[in-house]
Subunit: 464 residues, 2 copies
């Protein structure tokens, strides 16, 4: 831990952003020191810059004094990426929340980092445009946070994750310089691709202060259906069938029996988990009404061929929202299972999802744990939720051991230990399961090229 | 220039790859020392590895002796990226040319670097799959070269450039270690995105030895049309109209009057450049037959509204190939204008294409040069071809001055000096027009993190 010369910094921080925008009260230190991982460390100071110039001056001041600093969006991350592990200054971006430009002719939006994802989507959809990335947290999370973590969501199978939409960035380097990467053009091969290096770097390479995003036309129509299966293998056979029929759904979500039962309890609707249903697929195709109808028919065929026991198809927007409700409420529903969730966003080649579920089944049995699973079957990205009672220390210990077995198994299936949430500090000890020492050493040299004194968001990604 | 201890290296190189795969004859040194830029430097030795282990041992040997080395694909690059500026060892990848795997279930292909782009496309299209990137050189260029340069092509507007399809790489670091980046999953946020950092790094960060590519379903149908306009502004108005109608064509190619006249001369078909036609758009939409027909109708409307003087629509595949012939023959056609082409792949936000053409017009007049232009209007990526007679030293000099004015003008239009071809060494002096000293310094630190002794492909990207 760093001993912060906090008295030295406060007058200068105040002179940069103004007194109302510097907070050292206990509540601020606690709230801005934690995120959705729920393992916080208190910040020493929380500052709220209003401009890029503010951010650059704050960073320069921290660099001058050797004080660690951590940028922060909405704090919805699951791996502690925004947590100030070594104290220091939290740079909370919430005042930098403007949509600066929506350029219909060039299909581009320019935003400050703290624009809420759903707000941007609403603004562009009014113009017939579309910003596809849809993390579950989209009503709270920010574009800046989405970029730092490379957020995904159900639509990623068809539309790709956040990285596919980031054309350019403005960012403050840990040494205080302001750089611009990429730009308002969809093609740019001048020098190294700093844009994509910063996307998903979890706030460890630079503080992002402006984002240029690519937009696409809004798909005019969605067709949505839900298919039930006796088990996960049958549901995955349907996924394979959909792909063999060369359909790329906008969403292809898989929900296992344990998750269904939790949702049925939480929503007090036993029909959501009828006897004999071990898995559900939620599928949405989009495009022109004709094309979507034709694709939906092919999806239905694939589901029937794989032995679907029931297929429901939304007749209208209300019906569509009804089908999606189950998926949207899953995270909340899991609270009925246990109070604490170790939510792992592992990913495998989609053909290997049955092997992933077999692995989870072995872990359930061996460690005596409740592990409801659901997620983005099209991407092979399954949320494996290890549920524990925080007071049951033995159960928590078993869960910790199970995590490691899960990660090793996933990597053995040619998969990855994180498809969406990043490493933060909660997964940092497991990095060597997936990456070789040479690869980690190279990444550390890259970190050093940006942040030679390791002041920006220290303690993240790399094992201690 | 390095004085190569060539006698020391040859026995070891031979022991690594075998005698037939080491060449020091003048022809090999010359041929493998040049690319499509036509400004070659002779290699000292050309080696042809057969495996990743071969590459690693060659790199280790060069590193041990401080000898520069340059990886090489098909040598179709326009900026000298594969040219061994300081001599040394050219690592010619041509024996590593196998398609290792096409995984239909997971929509993935795994290839060695020297697979010809068109060969991969043919192989996956037979299975109803699609690898979209289509650089003009696709019948010669290799996937490894495409990845190193982040190749584009007409389909990039709808489908994106090479980078959107690269999921993972195997590569040999300049210090000899073999690393793997990404993998067979479409989502992976574990550590920094080395995959995208290597894509487009022009063979300056690592030697790529294996590539994991994402595939998509092959679009079942294309509708193709050609619209003529009195000038470029009218054609760009049609492009804007197409975008306002929320159509994303698979290709949206613009050809100016000077290029049309060259093609008409070369193909001996005066009808290609009728009097009063100052620009042509070639538009292709794809999807299901119904969806493509509907989108083609919207494109036709937009072209008529912008004042198209003629619209031709392909009735069948033969008609489609006929419309594409003009576009495909453009590069060859320019030979009728002059023997030497300075081919600049500048890019601007597409709404600013008229300003780009106005800039080119000013340059034509001020420097008395012939500058036919054509390219990917959807991306704002226009090939500005400054044509010169190599023997006319004064004209060559004027062309050199014009280049700089072009690049400065493009950057002032919020554009980029290269959308497809990269910097290599021919554009390296112009890098500071687009990037700030801080940005260049950061990129150099990244280069150093990979290649501390600057042995891999030295002299590229960065100004001397």
């Amino acid at each position: 831990m760093v001993s912060l010369p906090i008295q030295d910094l406060l007058p200068e921080l105040t002179s940069i952003v103004g007194e109302p925008h510097v907070r050292t009260d206990d509540e601020a230190r606690r709230v801005y020191g934690a995120d959705a991982l729920k393992r916080g460390y208190p910040a020493d100071v929380v500052v709220f810059p209003g401009t890029t110039a503010d951010v650059a001056r704050i960073v320069q001041l921290c660099a001058e004094h050797g004080v660690p600093f951590v940028p922060r969006g909405a704090g919805t991350g699951y791996t502690g990426g925004a947590v100030p592990l070594q104290g220091g200054v939290v740079i909370a971006m919430e005042r930098m929340n403007r949509i600066l430009e929506i350029d219909e002719q060039n299909l581009i939006a320019v935003v400050e980092p703290n624009v809420i994802t759903a707000d941007l989507q609403d603004a562009v959809e009014k113009l017939g445009l579309f910003y596809p990335p849809d993390p579950a947290s989209l009503k709270q999370s920010t574009i800046g946070g989405n970029v730092a973590e490379c957020a995904g969501g159900p639509r990623a199978f068809k539309y790709g994750t956040t990285k596919r939409y980031v054309l350019g960035l403005e960012a403050v380097l840990p040494t205080g310089e302001v750089i611009e990467t990429g730009g308002k053009v969809v093609k740019n091969v001048v020098g190294y691709d700093l844009t994509q290096l910063l996307v998903g770097s979890e706030g460890t390479l630079a503080v992002i202060t402006k984002i240029i995003l690519r937009l696409v036309p809004r798909p005019p129509f969605q067709a949505t259906l839900r298919a039930s299966f006796k088990d996960v293998s049958a549901a995955v056979a349907a996924v394979t069938g959909v792909i063999r029929k060369r359909v790329v759904p906008a969403a292809l979500e898989l929900i296992d029996g344990e998750s269904l039962r939790a949702a049925a309890d939480y929503l007090r609707d036993p029909s959501l988990a009828p006897y004999g249903t071990g898995a559900v697929l939620l599928v949405e195709v989009d495009g022109t009404p004709d094309a979507a109808a034709e694709e939906a028919a092919r999806v239905e065929e694939a589901c029937r061929a794989a032995g679907a026991t029931e297929i429901l198809r939304a007749r209208d927007e209300a019906g569509r929202q009804d089908l999606w409700r189950l998926r949207r409420e899953l995270s909340h529903s899991l609270r009925t299972v246990a109070a604490l969730k170790f939510n792992h966003d592992v990913v495998v080649p989609k053909g290997r999802i049955p092997e992933l579920f077999a692995l989870v089944e072995r872990i359930r049995a061996a460690y005596c744990l409740r592990i409801p699973c659901f997620g983005h079957a099209g991407d092979g990205n399954i949320h494996v939720n290890i549920m524990v009672s925080p007071d049951d220390r033995e159960e928590v210990q078993r869960a910790r051991e199970a995590e490691k077995v899960l990660f090793e198994g996933v990597v053995a299936l040619e998969g990855s230990i994180s498809g969406e949430h990043g490493i933060g500090f909660s997964k940092a000890p497991f990095l060597p399961i997936e990456l070789s020492p040479d690869e980690i050493a190279l990444m550390k040299r890259i970190k050093h090229a940006f942040d030679p004194r390791n002041l920006l968001n220290p303690g993240k990604i790399f094992p201690a």
